[in-house]
């Protein structure tokens, strides 16, 4: 299935879908916290990037902080904003760690979005690039950075053009004190890891490096480096305008603000949705029109975990809400497994993809992930050699935690959750009885066992 940037795919919380808000320009430029979209405000009004003029009309001008740099840091801390790239680390802590270093800092906006099941960073940059650029500008000021970069995947040239156009507008208007350099990186799965960005910006390959030092200590040009996901920076832009209290009006005590989610699979309206943090998994799925019969969901993307929808339905789509079931929202990804698809086959394809997407640097990942992908593949096909189930269980334990980055850990987590969630299937497959969907798919000549988008692997050596 190709995963095109479909213009019908963008819903947003609060719109009924059949019309535009009555008052498109709120009087005080402050989007209502609970009912109105924030980042996605007015996305349905245009099918291209908001111009600087439209952006300023929507949210007001880039605020100047009278209180100096500590003022914004305080606001971000009080907002309890967490990183939206997947790890969910407190943004203020990261910013303060960079600001506390003596050398002048570097800000890097991470728009790589290597997660194939996520579309939100692409959507955000395509519709509201100025929100992200505002965030870069403000974050640079707050941490004392003299240099800023935005990293985008090389495979999305049109997006690079959109961001460059937006930067051009800002230069003409003269609103930024810092100039943002746009970079196009190879689009491997591990290339969005923050150490990969640093390594690439320093002239190396877009592969993770051994830590420490972490980028906040010594990153781009050996300077302390703040690396934030583009959505995180967009939230910073709104917090700087409307304050921490406003930000926290959406969300829960545990998770504040709104978040972008990508919902695909067995839903009638796949796309990017902005929801209040803490919205239940089931409600997010309903927003996209969950189809009848879907029973399982992949939460958090290819590094995520499979679950029965019934078991996570009422759980908040947040780190804290999902921790008890061993899941994490990741970059806000939900994939509902269609009733006719085979979860093991999907998991096997993801595992194969992740195995090919390693940096090929560390032994346990280089050999372990293909081994697990083989095990899962044998199981999915119902053609086991030996006992792939117990072999996998042993390998899960051996591989985890032994790579330079967390690529092997994420792949293992996904595979283990598939075996757990599709347990009945797994045992049947292991006894050479693959599930019905594998047969029906073949009978009808449809590609029913290929639901998730798996990008084509890059040519060998294309890391620079």
């Amino acid at each position: 299935m190709s995963h095109a940037y479909a213009d019908d795919g963008y819903g947003s919380h609060g719109y009924s879908g059949d019309g535009y808000p009555v008052d498109p320009h709120p009087r005080d430029k402050r989007p209502d916290a609970r009912t109105t979209p924030r980042l996605t405000l007015d996305w349905q009004r245009a099918d291209c990037a908001a111009t600087l003029r439209e952006h300023s009309a929507r949210f007001g001008p880039l605020p100047r902080h009278a209180g100096g740099r500590s003022d914004l840091l305080d606001q971000v801390e009080a907002s309890r904003l967490t990183g939206r790239g997947g790890a969910g680390f407190p943004t203020a802590t990261k910013m303060r760690a960079v600001a506390a270093r003596r050398r002048s800092a570097v800000v890097v906006a991470n728009g790589m979005e290597s997660e194939p099941a996520s579309e939100k960073d692409k959507a955000l940059l395509a519709r509201a690039p100025h929100l992200v650029l505002d965030g870069i500008s403000l974050a640079a000021e707050a941490v004392g950075a003299a240099e800023a970069h935005i990293c985008l995947p090389r495979t999305r040239g049109w997006l690079v053009d959109a961001v460059l156009a937006a930067i051009g507008e800002r230069q003409q208007a003269g609103i930024d004190q810092i100039s943002v350099a746009v970079h196009e990186l190879p689009h491997h799965y591990v290339s969005s890891e923050e150490t990969s960005l640093v390594h690439w910006l320093n002239g190396g390959e877009a592969k993770p490096t051994t830590t420490p030092p972490r980028p906040f200590e010594r990153g781009v040009g050996k300077r302390p480096t703040l690396i934030d996901n583009v959505e995180t920076l967009a939230h910073v832009a709104l917090i700087a305008r409307f304050g921490a209290d406003w930000f926290r009006e959406a969300g829960t005590r545990e998770a504040s603000g709104t978040m972008l989610t990508t919902v695909t699979g067995a839903v009638s309206r796949p796309g990017v949705y902005e929801v209040a943090a803490g919205t239940a998994v089931g409600d997010v799925l309903e927003l996209a029109g969950l189809q009848a019969g879907a029973e399982a969901v992949l939460i958090g993307g290819y590094f995520g975990t499979w679950h029965d929808i019934a078991a996570v339905d009422g759980r908040p789509f947040t780190a804290g809400g999902l921790r008890p079931v061993g899941a994490s929202p990741g970059a806000g990804v939900l994939f509902a497994l269609p009733a006719e698809a085979c979860g093991l086959a999907e998991a096997a394809r993801i595992a194969r993809y992740l195995a090919s997407q390693g940096a090929q640097q560390c032994g346990p990942c280089l050999f372990g992930l293909p081994a697990i992908a083989d095990d899962l593949g044998q199981l999915a096909a119902g053609r086991p050699e030996g006992d792939p189930l117990s072999r996998m269980q042993r390998r899960f334990g051996v591989i985890t935690g032994r790579g330079a980055c967390h690529h092997p850990d994420g792949a293992v987590r996904m595979a283990a959750s598939a075996v757990r969630t599709f347990q009945a299937d797994a045992h049947a497959h292991a006894q050479r009885r693959p599930c019905l969907s594998a047969y029906s798919g073949r009978q009808h000549g449809r590609q029913q066992t290929a639901m998730l988008p798996v990008p084509r692997p890059f040519a060998e050596g294309d890391w620079r």
């Binding site: 969910g88 590094f303 780190a319 970059a331 372990g368 330079a404």
Partner: protein
């Protein structure tokens, strides 16, 4: 002071000499890469040093304790999650 062994997983090419020299603390996985014990007891420190200096890839290290990766006041759960950014 507790000593631990660390392997640089990028540098390690799976020669396996370390497991030969220090089987008490190092075993090899099915692909020949070392799996290390958590800490090095004092009576094995000298042997550990020998294994470190024998590594052809200079991938093995003997260090005092794990480096602090993120600011001290973060919980270990936070610290773990910080590493998983994608």
């Amino acid at each position: 002071m507790t000593m631990t062994l660390q392997v640089d997983p990028i540098a390690c090419t799976g020669h396996g000499l370390c497991a030969d020299l220090l089987p008490e603390l190092i075993e090899l996985d099915e692909w020949g890469y070392p799996i290390l014990a958590d800490s090095v007891p004092p009576d094995l420190v000298a042997h550990a040093r020998r294994a470190v200096s024998a590594c052809p890839a200079l991938a093995l290290r003997l260090v005092r304790r794990q480096h602090q990766l993120v600011p001290r006041h973060q919980s270990s759960a936070r610290r773990a999650r910080y590493e998983g950014d994608r």
